[in-house]
Symmetry: C2
Subunit: 397 residues, 2 copies
């Protein structure tokens, strides 16, 4: 018998994951300037430090790190990670902290615990495309919340809650991916109140929080939640190393935490103990504050160079001015076709991600996401100038 498309689970049939994959293939071309990824700068990664720590923890814990561990995590890491999150005003303890394979797994386990096919999830629009794919894999119905330059508009979100009775709201509150926008303090409080009032779980995805280059740090939505409706998802991908695949979720509702642990049991039993021990030691050695200071210093200059580079873009281009994170969002004048711009840009040797991919319903062809963390300043300047030229030419067609 032949294997046919009908063999797949219904919700997996339409998911091809191809658009972005095709883009990343193009990045291998020689001389290509990439504003397309979301990776940390190579200079932000510390292989020597990690190597030393790896030897230290294997000497300290020995075979324990190579044996099976508990699904709910390696004790010392749960402690140090909870302490780290508390510096960000996250309300958590070692007991409410779940180590995960990056923020992605936290969200995946939350979806697995809660979502029945057809359940509604409110999300920002545009939002992280990995999250869109994850929600689709659980057959959730995505409803876009209106946003402005302060993030989600609370009154509109409340209307949508009344109309759609969502089970979950997915929000990236700080230096949002893809827009770079930060949810204001008042709105953080208000969203926490909405969650409690209507019984909606908020998945607060906050992996960029400590990449702040200006302005004041804000407490998370989770810090205003008293009943356990907000799950805070953090990650060490942007702070230490994405290749290690380690994140942490603060889950203050014990029943929900338990269901996520059960989901993780079947998914991968536990996160690698060596990795948990490495990041634990990194935190305990007090390396994080100095490291963040150094990389934020570099990223700030790169962000400034990119913002300055909009001088090469045609009049009528709008863009965000983020206070941190890895992305700037641009809107070309109405009628500009981002896919045509994208193809011409790649020909000219500069890549980005067309904004349309970040909208659950597509459209918005005049938008683009630009990453600055992976290019040095002269490269950012060259890339923005090239891109500006390509856009001008396209608009003149």
């Amino acid at each position: 018998m032949k294997f046919t498309e009908e063999m797949f689970a219904t919700h997996m049939r339409s998911i091809t994951g191809s658009a972005i994959r095709e883009i990343f293939k193009l990045l291998g071309r020689p001389g290509m300037i990439s504003f397309a990824g979301g990776n940390p700068s190579t200079s932000a990664l510390e292989p020597e430090v990690i190597s030393e720590i790896s030897a230290e923890v294997l000497a300290k814990y020995g075979a324990t790190l190579l044996q099976y561990g508990a699904t709910d995590g390696f004790g010392p890491f749960r402690e140090s990670a909870a302490e780290f999150l508390r510096t960000a005003q996250v309300n958590c303890t070692a007991e409410t902290l779940l180590p995960v394979q990056g923020g992605s797994q936290a969200f995946d386990l939350l979806l697995k615990a809660l979502i029945n096919p057809g359940d509604v999830i409110l999300c920002e629009s545009p939002t992280f495309l990995g999250a869109i794919q994850a929600m689709r894999e659980y057959n959730a119905k995505l409803v876009a919340m209106p946003t402005d330059d302060q993030g989600v508009i609370v009154e509109a979100a409340e209307e949508l809650i009344k109309r759609h009775h969502p089970k979950m709201m997915y929000v990236i509150p700080t230096f949002q991916n893809p827009t770079g926008i930060t949810l204001s303090l008042e709105r953080r409080k208000a969203l926490a109140a909405l969650a409690e009032k209507y019984g909606v779980v908020i998945a607060e995805d906050d992996p960029y929080r400590d990449l702040r280059y200006s302005g004041e740090a804000l407490p998370p939505i989770q810090s205003f939640d008293t009943e356990g409706w907000v799950v805070y998802m953090s990650s060490f991908s942007k702070y230490v190393a994405p290749g290690l695949r380690l994140g942490a979720a603060a889950v203050n509702n014990p029943t929900l935490l338990r269901k996520m642990v059960i989901g993780k049991q079947s998914a991968d039993v536990h996160s690698p103990l060596l990795v948990q021990a490495i990041v634990d030691a990194y935190l305990r050695k007090g390396l994080m504050p100095g490291h963040l200071k150094r990389i934020c210093g570099d990223y700030k200059l790169q962000l400034d160079a990119m913002l300055d580079g909009f001088k090469w873009f045609p009049e009528g281009t709008k863009h965000t001015v983020p206070e941190g994170g890895l992305f700037v969002w641009a809107e070309l004048p109405e009628g500009a076709d981002g896919m045509r711009v994208f193809n011409a840009a790649v020909e000219a040797g500069v890549a980005f991600v067309p904004g349309t991919h970040f909208y659950p319903d597509g459209g918005h062809l005049n938008t683009m996401r630009l990453n600055f963390s992976m290019s040095d300043i002269p490269t950012i300047q060259t890339g923005m100038e090239r891109l500006g030229g390509v856009i001008a030419k396209e608009l003149a067609r």
Copy 2:
């Protein structure tokens, strides 16, 4: 609003994962002899070796290991892992090999790709309880296949295929968990033929294959499959270190592989590169054959001690005589209550897993799974003698 049980996804509501969890809590009691786990022996783990290799690969690959990697895996590891599986007669190449977080994740991704709620999966009964939980989380309908001392009875499996039209068959062919039984060569061929004839995906879970202490190695079911119906799932947990959480799936159907990669993208983006590089170097250094030889030598003596220990069990006890793996399966005389035995045994300072937990439909209270890898020979002797005494007392009630 209060968070209620109804908030959870339907398929997660009834899964509490508690039975075994409670057992493992008991193992912490001082003096407890544990035949309950499935862990490698501590002496089989090599923290010094892993530490040296970790330093080597971080020196060799530098920041590359800390950056984001491809979801379909770290190139060198895909190559070396495919070569390793080919020595087990698995039909695979680097391109058809997917690195995963232990065999558990391979199975989870396969379920995610294929299973709609209500789809039927044929499985051995008893079978691995982690797999039972995973299948339940996808709301699959489990149908037990009759087995004997050669594994799955093919004619009976074919009847069940005709009656239930299963989408998948889950089989642990070598030193099965929990029974220790190995599927015969003829039946391996026959199951591959059934898969092709009826269009059933076989999930071949083979993590114990190279822990063979007597007899001849057999080719996997997958080696007899020419159309990509059999997914072969291996793991380095039992061979190198479970704490590293690394496994490999050979998926020869490219469409199915692609869907599993998409599922992994959302689940955890990719497996930690440091871990993939460590196991890759372990394989390339040629450490595996000598290591397996050493640990198999030790495990053989432990298995022999356990088999010998049945002399302390009451007459009428049956048990398997595995040629490898980590488990022996025992059936007490009919009417013996394994749960009562379990409670009394724990009081007497020896633990095992009551066999009922491995049956999708429960029952079979007179069965027990005994692990020998985690105890040295005197401990196995003491434990079996204690256990025999407890059982005799229970039977005499």
